[in-house]
């Protein structure tokens, strides 16, 4: 009897420890998200009528949304793989104990501290129509391009994205690399496995969960690139740079709840789907190591 009481008391305490966070998260994120879903399937001011998927179909026909979704997708699809591969390469390099290793680590991480604005200023100086890059190009007799309003605009933003995110990812990979059991690599060396064999067949397998995590994180940060694009080009940039956050920001201003809420729900679904797929992939490729 006493034991049961003790257990119940314990459980109550556990809830007490969790409740401040859970209540806050519920109030600010979870409960209002249900309202977001509700708004996304209804219409009207005051008395809301269910229109089910009508808002969604309107949204999908909205050209600004299409543009924003397409741009965000292209950007993420090019920036995320690059971020994963390059940061893994940097991590492998620094793992080799090259001279100046700790200096390099500090340097690679430093962009985290730099306010967005200063990188934006520098990017303007470099990529502006009258900027350094064109200046240099014209020395070689090349034509000037307005980089941020050209088909190359996404390349400029990818360069910025990599600048900001490679360091963080690299640290994650370095941690992953150092967790690979040394005995396995030694055994492979003894068996005469080449370095590239070791990398592709042993290290990559062990890194699969880190690769998953870095991919997810980079994906999330790729949605945050709006911050830089907004500061570079304002509310209505060149159409190649109009991202989902631009769409959301401008919709917030017009307070079109239907549009706003259905867009948020769509994005949430897409994110959850992507994460689920990545998880499945990781389970498939890394499963024999988990045990």
């Amino acid at each position: 009897m006493k034991r049961i009481k003790q257990k119940a008391a314990d459980r109550l305490l556990g809830i007490c420890f969790l409740s401040p966070s859970l209540i806050g998260v519920s109030i600010f994120f979870i409960l209002p998200f249900f309202v977001v879903i509700y708004y996304s399937v209804t219409e009207g001011v005051g008395y809301r009528e269910f229109v089910w998927l009508e808002n969604y179909s309107k949204l999908f026909q909205n050209s600004a949304f299409q543009l924003a979704a397409r741009n965000t997708a292209t950007f993420s699809l090019s920036a995320v793989p690059l971020a994963v591969i390059l940061s893994l390469a940097l991590a492998v390099m620094l793992e080799k104990h090259i001279p100046g290793q700790s200096f390099f680590r500090t340097t690679f991480l430093s962009p985290m501290m730099v306010p967005v604005v200063s990188i934006v200023l520098v990017w303007q100086i470099v990529f502006n129509y009258n900027g350094t890059l064109n200046e240099t190009a014209s020395l070689f007799g090349l034509d000037k391009t307005d980089w941020l309003s050209s088909p190359y605009c996404q390349v400029v933003i990818v360069a910025l994205f990599l600048w900001k995110n490679l360091g963080y990812n690299m640290i994650l990979f370095m941690a992953g690399l150092s967790n690979i059991p040394k005995e396995i690599l030694e055994a492979a060396s003894v068996d005469g496995a080449s370095e590239s064999y070791q990398f592709f067949h042993i290290k990559l397998r062990y890194l699969s969960s880190t690769i998953l995590f870095v991919t997810v994180l980079s994906l999330i940060s790729s949605f945050k690139i709006f911050r830089e694009v907004y500061l570079l080009t304002g509310d209505y940039p060149y159409e190649g740079l109009y991202t989902l956050q631009h769409f959301m920001n401008n919709t917030f201003r017009s307070l079109d709840y239907q549009k706003l809420c259905s867009a948020a729900v769509i994005m949430a679904i897409v994110i959850v789907a992507i994460i689920a797929v990545l998880f499945r992939l990781e389970e498939h490729y890394g499963k024999d190591l988990d045990g």
Partner: protein, 291 residues
Amino acid sequence: MKKPRTFGKWAMVLIAAAFAVYFLLPTALTVTNSFMTESEINANYGAVFSVTSGGYISDTVHLKFIPEKVTMQQYFTGLIRSPDYLVKFWNSMLYVVPIVVFQLVVASTASYSFMRWQGRIRKGIFFLYIILMLMPYQVTLVPNYLVSKWFGILNTRKAIILPGVFAPFSVFLLTRFMRRIPYELIEAAKLDGANEWQIFTKIVLPQCTGPLVSVAILVFIDYWNMVEQPLILLSDSEMYPLSVFLSYINSTEVGIAFAMATVYMIPPLLLFLWGEEYLVEGIASSGSVKG
């Protein structure tokens, strides 16, 4: 056999050095150019930015690192002549410090609960936190906005601070750290008659000072550079943190923007230099979504 290996090593140093230049250049440019005179800045970058004041403007841009004459003019103008920047700097503090402090309090109790009691419901809640942590602002800002509107706190500090306090990222990270604490420590304390609160404050928290510092640094940096939340949740630009406000000075007063960006970099940079090991440890242990 020895020769190619050292050659490879130096090739790697070279590549790492190239990346180091890439990562450091924007920061270096910001800092050095903040010591230039206004006329030198205008002459150098007048072709890129719409500089209003007179004086000589070169029609080509000159990317320069070393000022002709070192001066504190920009700092003087930014910090002493106009109180705006100081006010916005103070605004940033007023947002970030409460967020960091309260997020740590809320998250550490929640993490303790996740570590001590692991039922099925709790696992579900933890998974929900991970999903929430991975949601981009495009999704979470919509519920945040709705709640702030209902509570009538839109365009007040609370609209930024409250959702920040309950952000689930630090719960995730701290739980992962706490699960590494040897279970025997807790068992022993329990046998000695300690209650949960005592175990939490006397055993678990002291074991977690390092992780708490890592989380604090990560959260600080994240909110110090926030852009999206103020843009959406605040309509009065007087309340903007410097991270957003800096972008408004971009085009007309580039020199001041450089100087203020440098000032703004100081707090996170100091934190970084002081706690780089904590930061790296913090990032490293966020490394995998799985327990």
